[in-house]
């Protein structure tokens, strides 16, 4: 941890023993992290082959995502950015549904309307992601205000990156959260880059976590490569939220191993040596080492985990690729709850041009 990180840690609330990561679930966490890594690699190559249009990898952020997902409860609301594939998986979204979205087929829960990675899964309270940076932050606060009004015993968590701390919604969201003392967890995955802009040039504060002070609530830095530390930090924040003590800003310090997205070439702006150095603290390797040390895992079992993950990914992909495109008429649905006469007219025009059946 950096010195600044230590300083920011002093903000942290007292340790809660009930917040410790359940040892029995470490292997489970490991499996999810491996699955996410395998997915990442597969999707990067799928994009190169033109089989999916885009992908934003999460390699290096697996512990942060899985740790946070484990710490939240099923009733909690998740406001993701566009890298939170692992969060969705941990909360129970079938891998197949993820691939349906990535290929944008007729089975996609979002009807093939969004670019890959922009997921929405209402059954796990995983709110529809959008591309504009930061917008989910105020929305999470609004949902938290609704929680307060309904007196529900849950919390919301908003995921965002280091770059998003510069957004309008970061400022508005954290300010409203402070004023209304909402049960919100602001989970910033500081992966050190906003595309080509390094963290140091995003803002001049020593840590991102300390920005919370400007809004009157605590900010905490956590080592995002340590799944147990992430879990504990999110858990404690959740306890504070449910106790009525208001929001917490968490800065999970990680490193983005891969490109920003499949459209990006990181060699243009960073040295490979920096990436190699960061990979020394690969969250998967770190967790594996602990598990091996504690004799929960050996190499054979580990290989099996990776193989199973690959098989699972291959199967989900194959299924998703067999599906047809959504129907032409679907373009006109969900603009409003019901089609307007104007949209009906346009739908009929499109059906005339492109075929497809009127629903």
């Amino acid at each position: 941890m950096t010195e600044a990180a230590h300083a920011a840690r002093s903000h942290e609330t007292s340790r809660s023993p009930s917040a410790e990561f359940p040892k029995g679930r470490r292997l489970e966490a490991y499996r999810w992290m491996v699955l996410a890594r395998v997915m990442d690699e597969r999707c990067l190559s799928l994009q190169r082959q033109g089989r999916i249009g885009f992908y934003a990898p999460l390699s290096g952020q697996e512990a942060a995502q899985v740790g946070a997902a484990f710490a939240m409860q099923p009733e909690d609301w998740i406001f993701p950015a566009y890298r939170e594939v692992a969060v969705a998986l941990v909360r129970g979204v079938p891998l197949r549904s993820v691939f349906d979205q990535l290929v944008g087929n007729a089975s996609d829960r979002s009807k093939g309307r969004q670019m890959p990675n922009h997921f929405a899964f209402s059954e796990i309270r995983f709110v529809s992601a959008s591309s504009p940076i930061g917008t989910q932050i105020t929305q999470a606060v609004g949902a938290s205000m609704a929680i307060q009004r309904r007196k529900d015993r849950i919390a919301t968590i908003a995921f965002f990156g280091d770059g998003a701390t510069s957004s309008n919604d970061f400022h508005a969201g954290l300010n409203f959260a402070g004023v209304f003392r909402t049960p919100t967890i602001f989970f910033c995955q500081n992966n050190q880059w906003a595309i080509s802009l390094p963290r140091e040039r995003q803002t001049r504060s020593a840590t991102l976590a300390e920005k919370a002070a400007a809004y009157g609530f605590p900010g905490v830095v956590v080592d995002g490569n340590d799944v147990a530390a992430v879990y504990r930090t999110v858990r404690e924040a959740r306890e504070r939220a449910l106790a009525g003590d208001g929001p917490t800003l968490i800065e999970a310090q990680v490193y983005r191993f891969g490109p920003h997205s499949t459209s990006d070439d990181p060699r243009r702006y960073r040295e490979d040596s920096q990436v190699q150095a960061a990979r020394q603290r690969d969250p998967i390797a770190l967790l594996k080492a602990t598990l091996v040390q504690d004799r929960v895992l050996d190499e054979a079992a580990d290989s099996k985990i990776w193989e199973e993950a690959r098989a699972e990914v291959a199967e989900a992909l194959a299924g998703a690729e067999k599906e047809p495109l959504p129907d032409v008429a679907s373009v006109f649905e969900d603009v409003f709850a019901a089609l307007t006469p104007r949209l009906e007219e346009q739908r009929d025009e499109a059906l005339g041009m492109h075929g497809g059946h009127r629903p």
Partner: protein, 325 residues
Amino acid sequence: MTELTLVQAVNRGLQEAMRQDPDVLILGEDVGVNGGVFRATEGLQKEFGPGRVIDTPLSETGIVGTAIGMALYGLKPVAEIQFLDFIYPAFDQIVSELAKFRYRSGGQFPCHVVVRAPYGGGIKGGLYHSQSTEAYFAHTAGLKVAIPSTPADAKGLLLTAVHDEDPVIFLEPKRIYRAVTGEVPDGDHRVPFGKARLVREGSDVSIFAYGAMVPTATDAAATLALEGISAEIIDLRTLVPLDERAVIASVEKTGRAVIVHEAARFCGFGGELAAILAEKAFYSLKAPIARVTGYDTPFPYSLEHVYLPNTDRVAQAARTTVRAG
């Protein structure tokens, strides 16, 4: 029935909606203790408490962003933007998020927020307390846009808006907030979206208007009547959904169209109306379509009377149109 001003009718509409449904709540700047700078929310915090009439910090981004979060959760927030001129800090939330939530999630996350804002000129508000930018919202797929021009419609359209399933931009013509009073039904009065109001029947020319331009157009029709020109006045009430049928039917009858709005002309809502007519009522048209609008300049202060359409300009355009063919 109660005799109310337009802003009082807005107030009663909000009160009625909040009494009907505990999920309805209001948020915005100065809406609580102060009752809103135009008093639209007067008395509501007293009746419903600060948990349902929420004074927010000075951030439209925050107001609309949090309203969206509330709506996703199942509440029915009504966000007040103090003047339409101040909605732009929230524009990203409105056009990128609110308008697209249902669509982008394949219907999984409908997002129903009513965003209320006083708009329009005629109150000596200068550049930033006068603008009419309804076209921005009407052009944004996924938003409904309602604009009342009478106290009864203010309440009736607002109640419809609050109970609608889609996001609604609700624009209130502040110039006529207190200009006239009108009979407003008590209780659950609703005016459906997508149904224009026939203000006055006529046979020579159709004048289309909304908001504060409806009384202006109506006054012009009275003048024209003295000259033997029979003008039909149609109040659009909702720009989205638009009552295209009524618009087209009127021009099929009169053969002539004058479109009136306060907003700048270029790419304004009048362009859409003219385009619809030039496509779908083409063979009925006897004369060029006229637009009487604000000019293509920012909104001036000392000379706002030059900028704003008035009775003379509307009547003159109608005359020219009738004489043309």
